[in-house]
């Protein structure tokens, strides 16, 4: 696939820009959107069209049977609920633990603060695949297999570093006078955090929450390893395992439908919160 790179930065190349830019934009859009659109298309094509050669790009007939089959043959609704439950819970837990920690690292003069900050930063780079063995042992030892807790706690941990880094930079931007005033008024640290500072960082909390939610929803390896019970599976695992329904019949239609349904919440999130997501990403990463 050829991608044109638009390098026209000078003010004098007006003509070039008018030609190259639309092409580049179109290519970018096609590149990123195509796979998703293809799945959308596949999910509403009838089986004959799906397995038609050459490929049918503009089907004449449509069907919702694949979507329906998700709910009749498998507990897809349950999968969505599972993912939602785990994602929301771990997000809330992450914010609850991460915001106070971020405040401490932003404002209080703690002995060993640099060390802790360094730890938080480094941990961002750990691949989760290195952790699954140790965690598997813990899960087996504490009998937490097929318990959502086995997912919630790791997800919280995975998202804590980003939460702490983003919230920390927000706290640092708050005016210091506000905290002095609160102290003189009689607020202790916890009251001040809860009643005064956190309400002011609501946008940051929303941003971080969204990022955390997406990461938790998309997580695969832990969900694959720790949950084996069918009706407790999360979307990524369930969708990936749809393909193993039978050796000869691979249900491409339902798989496509599952892809779309299972990612709809995320697509909606991105649609509505695009700006915040980008802000949060760059804030977290640039600070590294």
């Amino acid at each position: 696939m050829a991608i044109a790179q638009s390098r026209s930065q000078s003010k004098s190349g007006v003509n070039w820009r008018a030609i190259w830019l639309p092409i580049a934009v179109a290519l970018v859009v096609i590149f990123f959107l195509a796979p998703v659109l293809w799945q959308v298309l596949t999910s509403v094509k009838v089986n004959e069209d799906i397995s038609a050669v050459p490929t049918v790009y503009f089907p004449t007939r449509y069907t919702l049977a694949h979507y329906a089959s998700l709910f009749t043959r498998r507990p897809f609704g349950l999968y969505i609920l599972n993912s939602a439950f785990v994602s929301i819970t771990s997000t809330l837990l992450c914010l609850t633990l991460g915001a106070p920690a971020a405040y401490v690292l932003a404002r209080l003069r703690l002995v060993g603060k640099e060390v802790i900050l360094a730890i938080v930063l480094i941990v961002t780079l750990f691949p989760t695949v290195l952790l699954f063995l140790g965690l598997l042992e813990i899960v087996q030892a504490t009998n937490l297999a097929n318990n959502f807790l086995a997912l919630i706690v790791p997800y919280t941990a995975i998202n804590l570093p980003l939460t702490i880094l983003v919230m920390r930079s927000f706290f640092q931007q708050l005016p210091k006078d506000l905290e002095d005033s609160a102290r003189v008024d009689g607020y202790n640290t916890v009251q001040m955090l809860w009643q005064i500072l956190l309400p002011m960082t609501l946008p940051a909390l929303v941003t971080t929450g969204i990022l955390t939610f997406i990461a938790a929803w998309n997580e695969f390896i832990f969900a694959l390893t720790f949950i084996s019970q069918e009706n407790m599976k999360t979307i990524p695992v369930a969708t990936a395992q749809l393909s193993g329904a039978s050796v000869f019949e691979i249900p491409y239609g339902p798989i496509a439908a599952a892809t779309i349904l299972g990612t709809l919440p995320l697509i909606l999130l991105v649609l509505f919160f695009q700006r915040k997501i980008v802000q949060g990403l760059t804030a977290g990463a640039v600070k590294g």
Partner: protein, 302 residues
């Protein structure tokens, strides 16, 4: 450093607020790594009937002569290097496009974000379908263009499978890099370009003399993140190829996973984890060093 009363109070409050997060982090991150170090000097597999038998450095010795390990390391290197390079180039391109002002820029940015937001595993399945030998879109397009006669078995061919996997990964993570670089681009003052063009420079020259050097910190940060992620890629490959065909796309993490989950070889798996961890640490250290140097350079250029 002697602390006064106010500072002592801060210490106490600080630690109390910090502790819960710290504990969770330590349990989930520190414990498994330490445990891996510990377990790596034991042998615990089906051979020992899952009992832990102390075996010193034998696991590491085994790794030296383990062809599959070196193969997976090679695969991982190929995958990582290709992915990251491609993503960097494409990322810069996309960032440059997004840096231009045009109507609908917000929508395009949203579209750019979508691949990043979707679950890798789910899209892995989608990509497998796209590269399907009989019904896949890629083959269809190639056929229509007259480049091939019959469908290529992408995922059945070692080299092609690697290409397919790399492509899928590039699709998924270019947005992340593009957005990071976009932030960097937007922080470069426009008058630098104006001054440069007044000196007679073409946009191409400006790109290499101004954009790239000033973007270097962001580039290295993105490289760092992506390297760490690509090195440990699991979801995508597991779902698309499972490491096949014949181990052609088996990366280190896939190997570790199957060593543990399928062969139940915990001791050896721990050793593999330790080695992977150390490689990562070294790479991060090198990158951080380069990063500080690049940051200093960028400051000098400005």
């Amino acid at each position: 450093m002697k602390l006064d009363v106010v500072q002592k109070r801060e210490q106490k409050t600080g630690w109390v607020l910090l502790l819960p997060a710290l504990i969770v982090l330590l349990v989930v991150y520190a414990y498994p790594i330490l445990r891996a170090f510990w377990l790596s000097v034991f042998t615990q597999n089906l051979g020992t009937e899952l009992e832990q038998v102390f075996s010193g450095l034998s696991n590491y010795g085994r790794m030296f002569s383990d062809g599959r390990f070196w193969q997976s390391l090679w695969n991982t290197t190929v995958f990582t290097t290709s992915s990251v390079l491609l993503e960097l180039i494409l990322g810069i391109g996309v960032a440059l496009v997004l840096n231009q002002a045009f109507k609908g820029r917000g929508i395009v940015r949203t579209i750019t974000l979508i691949p990043w937001a979707l679950p890798t595993a789910v899209m892995g399945v989608a990509w497998a379908w796209i590269f399907n030998d009989q019904y896949g879109v890629v083959n269809d397009i190639l056929r229509r263009l007259g480049l091939i006669e019959t469908g290529i078995s992408w995922l059945g061919n070692p080299t092609l499978a690697m290409i397919a996997v790399i492509l899928a990964d590039v699709w998924k993570t270019t947005p992340f890099i593009a957005l990071l670089l976009l932030a960097g681009l937007q922080s470069i003052p426009g008058d630098l370009y104006e001054a440069h063009s007044l000196d007679g420079a073409t946009p191409w020259q400006s790109f290499w003399k101004i954009t790239i050097p000033l973007l270097m910190p962001q580039i290295i940060v993105s490289l760092l993140f992506r390297f760490a992620q690509a090195f440990a890629i699991f979801d995508l490959i597991q779902v698309m190829t499972g490491g096949g065909p014949g181990g052609a796309t088996e990366t280190v993490s896939i190997y570790i996973y199957s060593t543990v989950m399928r062969y139940l070889d915990f001791g050896y798996g721990s050793a593999l984890i330790v080695v992977t961890f150390l490689i990562l640490v070294i790479a991060v250290a090198i990158a951080s060093f380069l990063l500080t140097r690049a940051r200093a350079n960028a400051a000098g250029v400005r």
